[in-house]
């Protein structure tokens, strides 16, 4: 019978923790994690990158979406110990030299943000989509974003923003 690891001081002395190496937004980090820590716990609580949101914690909302080795995954369902040696990109890592990426710009132009809680996850999903498919149709955008829940916008402005970012019509005039 397998002996369950114990929590608290006793566990620390038994040291079930391990060190993993993560590249986050191009910077290498060594972090100490226990098996029970998820990727989102490391990103938010250890690296203080709070752009990635912890919403439902059960896979249903997409607010925690990050790119793991370039693929959009849910940081709330990924164990940190399984990410050793991998490359993570979060919403903080999309801007280059202080310049927002084209998806972020388009979200601003189209008013695709209301409360903003879903936005980091939406932008990560949309960025991954455009990496794979630079000219998606409206239907392909719907399908790619189906794992990202938004309680505010009604989604149309978000889909418009992804269309704009893919260079297929900037629908609304830009507000200055």
């Amino acid at each position: 019978m397998y002996e369950r690891p114990v929590s608290g001081l006793e566990a620390k002395t038994k040291s079930r923790s391990r060190v993993i190496v993560l590249s986050v937004n191009g910077e290498t980090h060594e972090v100490m994690v226990r098996p029970r820590h998820r990727l989102i716990d490391v990103i938010r609580d250890q690296l203080n990158l709070t752009g990635t949101k912890d919403g439902c914690q059960s896979g249903t909302c997409g607010a925690c979406t990050v790119l793991l080795n370039g693929r959009p995954v849910l940081a709330c369902l990924t164990l940190a110990v399984d990410c050793d040696g991998k490359e993570v990109r979060t919403i903080e890592g999309l801007a280059e030299n202080g310049q927002l990426n084209k998806v972020q710009e388009a979200f601003l132009d189209q008013g695709a943000i209301q409360c903003g809680f879903c936005t980091p996850g939406m932008v990560m999903s949309a960025t991954a989509l455009l990496d794979d498919n630079p000219k998606p149709s409206r239907h392909q955008i719907d399908k790619a974003l189906e794992g990202n829940l938004c309680r505010c916008t009604g989604y149309n402005a978000i889909v418009d923003a992804v269309l704009q970012a893919s260079g297929q019509g900037g629908v609304k005039p830009v507000m200055k």
């Binding site: 019978m1 397998y2 002996e3 369950r4 690891p5 114990v6 929590s7 566990a11 079930r16 226990r34 098996p35 029970r36 820590h37 998820r38 716990d41 914690q57 059960s58 896979g59 249903t60 997409g62 979406t65 693929r71 959009p72 995954v73 849910l74 709330c76 369902l77 990924t78 164990l79 110990v81 399984d82 999903s125 991954a128 719907d142 399908k143 790619a144 974003l145 189906e146 794992g147 990202n148 829940l149």
Partner: protein, 335 residues
Amino acid sequence: MILFEFDHERPNTPDEAVALLTHAGPDARLLAGGTDLIPNMRYRTVTPALLVSLGAIQPEAPREEKDGSLRLDALAKLVTIENSALVRKRAPMLAESAHTVAGNQIRQMGTLGGNLCQDTRCLYFNQQHDFQFVAPCYKRGGDCCYPFPRNDKSTCWSVFMSDIAPALIALKAEIEIQGEQGLRRQPLEALYAGDGLKPHKLGQAELLRAVIVPPASPRQGWGYHKESVRGGLEFGMAILAATVTLAADSKACEGARLALGAVREAPVRLTETEKAMAGQALDAERIAEIAEAASQEVNPLPHHGFTKAHLRDVIRIQMRRLLARAVERAVNPNA
């Protein structure tokens, strides 16, 4: 953070994974994509002491075997199945069923094996229980059942909601299981126990290695439908899959396989209806009768707010549509 301590191993080969499971005993669990297991661990409905992660084992790409069958690694991600040109050509129904699962992120993470081995679901089970002041149900080790209050038989009527299993059963797929004794091969149906408390007949130290889809017969058509309310990021209300093979005259039915998901503790095969279809000319009228018979052959469990009568209606109507589609495809494979 998951709210209890557990340990984690990351074997490099399936053999090592089996050895770890054997050594660790019943408190160990396999972890593939984690999209089914981690939410259940968050809710503390499953509390393993050790996770044996399959993350370090590289899945093989889908490939065609010498006898023309299609071999899929159980560790393959659902996106691989959905996008593989070989799968789309050789088993389009399988690609379509993988495409309907959850949302993109979950298909990027989730695996074929995890999909087929996922736990059954119930509105009263798959949720956070900490803030509820109610007694645990049978599936959580308690002594009651909420959706079936007169159930005093310790039976759990949770439903098995894989979108892919019915498609694979209609395609007559087999699975390869690896255990201490080596590999064994069996039809996919035989994996399911039909018991909500323990839905799978896998040994404690066994793992699913591969799924094998036999070559389609000539003049075989398929139809697949997942009924849901929203149509996105949602478990199925009822999942229907069928293959129909026509005789040389392209009219009479030579054979059929019909499978349903999400309406019982295991995927259901409609063997009586299949038998009744043999030799029949599948015109619109006949298809309507068959669909009616199909909806009567199964006794759907009411689940997630859907009544038995509603589920029967869904099965009847969608079965009629998808059988018509299957016949169309059997006559003209490019349809």
